[in-house]
Structures are given as C-alpha cells and as structure tokens.
C-alpha cells in the first residue's frame, strides 16, 4: 500500500506537469508580462521603453493637456462607468427574460426538457461575431426593422430610426450574446428543487406571486447568482458588441483596450486598463465565493 501511495503522488505530479507548464508559461506568464508592461514607459511609435513609469495608470485619471499641465480627466472613468452600467443592465434584462424560461423548461417532461436545453445551448457554441453581425442586418439603415416598418407604413422610406450605433444597440447585442449563460445555471438550480416543497408551499400561499418570491426565488438563488456572474463578467470586457453595434463612437472597456493595441500604440495604458478590468472581475469572483461559502454554511 505504501509503494502504491508513493507511486500515486509521483504519478499525480507527472500527470499535472503538462497542465502546469502550459498554463504557467502561456497563461500566467502573459498576465505577468502584461502587469510588467503596465508600469513601463511607452514609446510613442509603439512598444515600450524599459523604464519604470506609472503613467499608464495615471492616465486613467489624469492626463497632461496639450500645454503639459496635469488635469483631471473624467473620460476613462466615464468609459468604465458606462461599461459597468451596460453590463449591469444586460445582466438584469437577461435575468428577467431568462428566469421564466428556465422555470418553464424545468417543468416539462424529461425528453422535452433535454431538447429545449439543447436548443438554448446551440447559439452559445456558434460564432459570436456572426451572431452579432445578424443584428447589424436587423438594426441597420434599411435593415429588417426599418424595412418592415416602412412596409407597414410607420415610417417614411427616407427616414431612419437610427437604431444602430446607440447604447441600446450595444445592450441588445450583449443580452443576445450571453443570455444562454443565464438560463442554464438557473435551470440547474430549479432542477434541484424538490417538487413536493412547492406543492406543500402552494397550500400555504394562495397566490402565485407569493409563491415565486417566498419560495422559488430564495431556493434558486445560487443559480441566479451563478448565471448573473456568467453574464456580467463577459459583458464587462465585451468587445464585439460595442465594436460592431456601437460604431466606434461609444467606447467600452473591451474596445478601449483593443484600441490601444491596434491603433493608439499605447501599450502601458492599454495594459493598465486591462489590469483594472482584471481587478474588477477578481473582486466580483471573490465576493461571489464568499457569498457561496456563507450560503453553504447557512444551509
């Protein structure tokens, strides 16, 4: 038994080695290098000078104006704020839309359930770029919405509803991209609900509203929180929806970061913003872990 034990831990180590090497070098390594770059000085033609310089972070709040005077710059805070608000809005909308769907599916026969869940999952595995592109066709000038409205006669041929390049368009894109991720965890939670609990409760509470708020909601809370995080985190760092549907005028965190590396050539600043985004997400995940632990302790 002892020999097996020793072999086991050596085998464990060997088995884990590929993972550690690959993740360590190609996942953690890049993050460390990025953190390093965020505190270096930038080269105005692109790249960096190997010189310690916190201006990457300083630029988020303060910037030298054209006259080399330092002044407070709210613009990036606005971008961070806008990204945050849109992510929150997308999460709430996904929750409102997705919750009844998860509930309905969980009430079906097993065979129907499986097919429905499969149908919910399919879009998630298709290309996000393509799915967002579909909305350009729908929302754009002379797009499906405008054409149909024109056909019915609500608007003139030459008029434009100007749906594209707005925060609303981005919001629609975000919800569309990630709503399956809201439905699945909630559905999971609902599956674990004991039907008898609900039956028993329905004797106590006569109205459906009470049933939802007093019983179903609290019991499926882990699923709701899980789904919310799965939607909120990608929305916060989203790039495709703001880039395609926002027209480059409405920058969000994801497109701001990409902009630094594809056009602006300001690597330290781009890296700094990426670090800020990472910090926000780590905080949320940490808080979530804390809440989960407390929930488990209570239950």
């Amino acid at each position: 038994m002892n020999i097996q034990g020793e072999n086991k831990s050596r085998n464990n180590l060997i088995g884990l080695l590929p993972l550690w090497i690959v993740m360590g070098v190609f996942m953690i390594g890049p993050l460390i290098v990025m953190a390093f770059v965020s505190i270096m000085e930038s080269n105005s033609y692109g790249g960096i000078h190997l010189k310690f310089d916190l201006s990457g972070y300083r630029q988020i709040l303060f910037d030298t104006n054209l006259f080399d005077e330092m002044e407070f710059n709210p613009a990036y805070l606005i971008i961070i704020g806008r990204s945050f608000l849109l992510a929150v809005a997308a999460t709430i909308i996904s929750l409102i839309i997705g919750f009844p769907v998860a509930y309905y599916i969980s009430r079906q026969k097993d065979s129907v359930k499986n097919i429905l869940i499969f149908l919910v999952t399919i879009p998630f595995w298709t290309n996000l770029l393509i799915r967002t592109f579909a909305w350009i066709i729908i929302l754009g000038k002379d797009g499906v919405i405008e054409n149909s409205f024109g056909f019915i006669g609500i608007i003139d041929d030459d008029d434009s509803l100007n749906l594209m390049y707005t925060n609303t368009a981005i919001l629609i894109g975000l919800v569309y991209s990630y709503i399956p991720l809201m439905v699945l965890p909630i559905y999971s939670s609902m599956e674990k609900l004991d039907v008898r609990l609900i039956e028993a409760a329905s004797d106590l509470y006569s109205t459906r509203i009470n049933l939802i708020f007093k019983i179903i909601l609290p019991l499926t809370l882990p699923g709701i929180i899980g789904g919310s995080i799965l939607v909120f985190v990608p929305c916060l760092g989203a790039f495709i929806a703001p880039d395609l549907l926002g027209g480059g005028k409405k920058l969000l965190l994801g497109s701001l970061i990409q902009f630094q590396f594809a056009y602006a050539r300001n690597w330290p600043f781009g890296a700094a913003i990426a670090m800020v985004l990472l910090a926000l997400i780590v905080t949320i995940l940490y808080l979530n872990a804390r809440v989960n632990r407390r929930h488990e302790q209570n239950a």
Binding site: I97, Y104, T126, L285
Partner: protein
C-alpha cells in the same frame, strides 16, 4: 364538495404560470430569428445585404473563388486540428489526476488553474498573449495561434471529461485490477474505453471553441495566419454584403453539426 376542490386544483396548479409558455416561445424566437434572417439573406440576389430582391446562390459561388477566404478557412482548420487534441490530451491527464489521484495538496489549485482561461476576460487574455509573444520573441506565425488556442481550449475539454470520470463506476476498475496485474493494462483496457465518449465530447467542444474564436486570434495572428472569423471581421468592416452572410451560414451549419455530434455522444455515455 371535496370533489369540486380537487377538480379546481387539477385544472391549473398554482405553480404553473400560463404566461410562461408564451414567454418561452418568444424567448426562442428572440434567440433564433436573427440567425434565420442571416441565413435567409445569404440567398439574397441583391448586393445590399439588407434589401431583399430575389433568391440566388451567387454569394456562395463567390465564396468558391475567394482564395484569401479559403486560406483563412484552412488556417482555422489547421489550428483547431492541433489545438483540440493537445488541449484534450492535457485535459485528460489533469482530469485523471484530479478525480482519481486521491486528495493531495494542489488539488484545489490545479482545478482552479484549469478553469483560469474562463475567468479572465477574453480581451485581457488576447492582449496579454500578444504582449507576451512580442516580448519573448516567439513569432512563428500560425504556431502562435495554435499555442494560444490550446490554452483556452483546455477548460472546455476538461469539463466533459471530468464529469465523465466522476460518473464512472469505480468498482469496475477495482474488479479489473484483480484480473490484470498491472495498472497500465487496467487503464488501457477498462478506464480508457469507458472514458472515450467523454474524451470525444471534450475534443469536439475544444474543436468548436477553437474554430469560433475571434478576439484572441485577432490580436495574436500575424501575416498569413488569418483564420476564418478574423477574415469575416475584416469583411464586415469593409461593408455589409451577402458574401458575409453566405460564409456565416456555412460556419453556423458547421458549428451546429459539431455541437449536435457532441450532444449525441454525451447522451451515449
């Protein structure tokens, strides 16, 4: 009297919500109608993707003469065919250790490490990988993309394999160890075949994820390493023509077939 009360409850139980059926119906509509519109317009004979003028296959024909796009599609396949097996292999090893290795110090850590790419926003991973490759000086064209893809495919391959392992009946292996004297044979003739559907599911998932990846490839790919999603992006930026719809439809069909295959496989196990 009791009969009546019983009847009323049966007619509409209080935990069934009548509006929810309609709600779910509209939900699936919301989810699928954009895709359907996209596909329909790929058969549009007019140049403008948004005004319907008639049925035509011409955009699909145009795809056949688009060399650059075919090269991009080939690149996507090359990358996926390298990244998916590598990711699956690493994921399998890791899953075996995590599930079967008993309790050991770094178990939680390894489990977390595997899922790290899922927790970091894609744009951050993309940018960090770009900087990393530039710094270290690794500039091997398509290989850069393959490495980046392998990394983020690992968690996707890992999850089905781990689930499959956890669902496996351990008594089979204990019985097998009585028959076969060494661990290797047990592994090869019992564990591996039982695990096969899970591994295949993981492989297919990793493959789909690699084919569909956009942001990371956009930042990391150099010359001659353009993949299909990146190529489609530059087409979209140039102007919306039904050519984009056509190639999008093909990509969608491809992904859906693969995912359906994965689903069928995972049901079998």
């Amino acid at each position: 009297m009791l009969n009546l009360m019983f009847k009323r409850k049966k007619f509409l139980r209080v935990w069934e919500f009548p509006g929810f059926l309609t709600w779910t119906f509209f939900f699936f509509g919301f989810l699928y109608i954009p895709i359907v519109i996209l596909v329909i317009y790929s058969f549009n004979s007019s140049k403008f993707a948004m005004i319907w003028t008639g049925f035509s296959f011409r955009w699909y024909e145009k795809l056949l003469t688009n060399d650059d796009m075919q090269q991009a599609a080939l690149n996507s396949l090359y990358v996926a065919f390298v990244a998916a097996p590598c990711a699956t292999a690493i994921a399998t090893l890791t899953a075996l250790v995590v599930v079967r290795g008993g309790s050991f110090k770094s178990k939680e850590f390894s489990n977390g490490l595997v899922t790290l790419p899922l927790m970091v926003p894609e744009i951050v991973t993309a940018v960090a990988t770009l900087i990393f490759f530039a710094f270290i000086g690794i500039n091997l064209g398509l290989i850069n993309v393959m490495i980046a893809h392998t990394v983020f495919c690992i968690p996707f391959a890992y999850m089905p394999i781990k689930a499959s392992l956890e669902a496996m009946d351990p008594t089979l292996e204990v019985a097998a160890r009585d028959l076969y004297s060494d661990r290797n044979s047990t592994f090869r003739y019992i564990t591996l075949p039982l695990l096969m559907p899970g591994i295949l599911s993981g492989f297919m998932l990793a493959f789909v994820i690699s084919i569909d990846d956009f942001i990371i490839t956009l930042m990391v790919a150099g010359g001659g390493s353009t993949t299909l999603p990146v190529y489609i992006y530059s087409m979209i930026k140039m102007g919306v023509t039904p050519e984009v719809n056509a190639i999008s439809t093909l990509m969608l069909a491809f992904s859906i077939i693969l995912v359906t295959g994965y689903w069928v496989f995972s049901k079998k196990s």
